[in-house]
Symmetry: C2
């Protein structure tokens, strides 16, 4: 395979810049694609700057990938050249442990291979992600896209932000008759509002910014609560079946736990670099509440999510950027100044590189 | 009803001492009993000393009560004079909310009435607990005892320590094929070991005291892990279906969360006066683990627990004390110097008072 163009960080402190990478030659079960768009996830920034530790440099981020198939191995049966496809946060896993067998590759007992900064299952290499013009992925980690092609850029964020919110909503059985809270209206939160509403739940959006009220209602929330307002919060005490908390910054979880009803669950999507203040045990005990975690979603579930979103006309609200605007996009993302996901138009890579 | 003898705290700093209380005259749906034995729960001490706040003085603790029925109201159908009965942590609730209708009186939307220091459902009085020679309770909060009468003293702790461990084990479906951890071998923990083993689970006891190993094995654990030993802990990483954490003192929850397998749950029984160090969000996310709470159990479930324990020959391991030894018992309890529950022989109250 010829050299691919990419954008990489060379260290935790260096800005992303043009870089050439070698993609592997497609094997019999591989799909090769031209990347058309790639969403910009907060994890990209955490990893590029080594905020979670463990980043191997050079680092090419990007795991909200959509593109067009350019070639397939001779054992590939599900995809054809020219089709639109997506690749999310994983490109491989052991494929033989129980979680893999159950379609929960994200919990692979032997560790899944992240789309970037992931140790390859064999060979010991480190994966390069979607800030690039080409990608080679084994078929079983490639997703079909049923959306209309003109929505393609806005589909990209579904591959991470979409599945990260869909999976816990699905796992905890959200549906009609449920009152669901979404905490935070960012990349994850705005997907959570759209998906929970499409699942039939009554959705309440919690935000620290009163200015997001109109947007939240437009996206599908039936009410918006400014979480700094104690009276507004108190009015919802003990009333939620489920809360999806997407805020990565450390914050007081108790303020939301007390809003859950008996047997209610709050899941955490965003992972802070430092811990939240400790949640009070009494708040869990008094209504048998649960604080739970959830990590992206399995491949089968990601396909279900994409199909669900296509059926319900759901895409991400995006701002398109050029590849060479990535550092500016990161800076704006840190200020929560994006509605609601940056997506890189990969046609710009050639000009930038 | 004549005056009852009791032991009460008059303030957060005064030792418990003899006190006379008025029990209400039994109404048509009430059961009156002579209290024969009362277990000593850590909550008694927390409340007597106002460590959780909200204690109304004088305070008569005690909610692990067994005794003999002395009279019944004319509408009481389930109990007869002379029968052995138990009363646990609750003596009343609203009886018309959804949790009450579901047999989950402990989560009554309007607040259950605690057996002591509980606001009465009408009249505004404050309840007095089982450190007394008599009790009047509405029939629907009285439990049948199927154990042999000579085990009666050791049945008392089932009314709180038993149901507090049984309920979460039952809720999360513990049974054969499950690997279950019990953290702490105190009043709650030793019941947790016995009950989880009787449910058919493989039980591992976590303790900070290597000296408790033999006892834990005798009680039903198949293995004992000294939780201060990082190697012993690491050997169990990601292997537990369920962990019941009974340790009230603030401690590092992460050390146990990482022992849960995919979709594993840890529930908290004991409630610390100050929070635990904050659990790490990554540990919840990475295997979709849950941290949950649980509060005693409903009346129907408490009866199920008593019947289950009678069927499996389960009682508490106890040390019998006289009523006037209660302060010494509290002091020893604070040093975890009890195997595994103090029970007051209420025949001693007359001499002490």
């Amino acid at each position: 395979m010829p050299e691919s163009l990419a954008y990489a960080a060379q260290s935790a402190t260096s800005p992303l810049a043009p870089f050439s990478i070698d993609r592997r030659s497609p094997g019999p079960t591989d799909v090769a694609l031209d990347i058309l768009y790639c969403g910009v996830c907060h994890s990209d920034l955490h990893t590029a700057r080594d905020e979670w530790g463990g980043t191997v440099y050079p680092c090419v981020p990007g795991h909200e990938i959509v593109g067009r198939v350019t070639s397939v191995g001779n054992k590939v049966s599900k995809f054809k050249v020219g089709e639109l496809v997506g690749v999310g946060c994983m490109v491989d896993s052991c494929q033989h442990c129980k979680p893999c067998a159950d379609g929960l590759e994200q919990y692979c007992d032997n560790g899944f291979t992240g789309t970037y900064n992931g140790p390859e299952q064999s060979g010991g290499g480190n994966t390069y992600g979607g800030y690039a013009n080409q990608l080679v992925v084994r078929e079983s980690f490639v997703l079909r896209i049923a959306h209309d092609e003109k929505q393609l850029a806005a589909v990209a964020p579904l591959l991470c932000a979409g599945i990260t919110t869909y999976s816990p909503l699905k796992q905890w059985g959200v549906g009609p008759g449920h009152k669901v809270g979404i905490v935070g209206l960012g990349g994850l939160g705005h997907m959570g509002v759209k998906i929970a509403a499409a699942m039939g739940a009554e959705v309440v959006l919690f935000t620290t910014s009163a200015g997001k009220r109109d947007d939240a209602l437009r996206l599908g929330a039936s009410a918006v609560v400014v979480s700094k307002n104690a009276d507004e919060m108190a009015a919802h005490a003990g009333s939620f079946d489920f809360i999806l908390n997407t805020v990565a910054a450390p914050h007081n979880l108790d303020a939301f736990l007390v809003l859950l009803k008996l047997d209610g669950t709050m899941t955490r999507g965003g992972a802070p670099a430092s811990p939240h203040p400790s949640p009070g045990v009494f708040n869990l005990i008094m209504k048998r509440r649960r604080l739970a975690g959830s990590l992206i979603g399995g491949i089968r579930e990601t396909q279900d999510m994409l199909d669900f979103c296509a059926e319900h006309g759901i895409v991400s609200d995006i701002e398109m950027i050029r590849m060479d605007e990535i550092e500016e996009a990161y800076a704006r993302m840190l200020k929560s100044d994006v509605k609601y996901r940056f997506v890189i138009d990969m046609a710009s890579l050639k000009q930038a590189a």
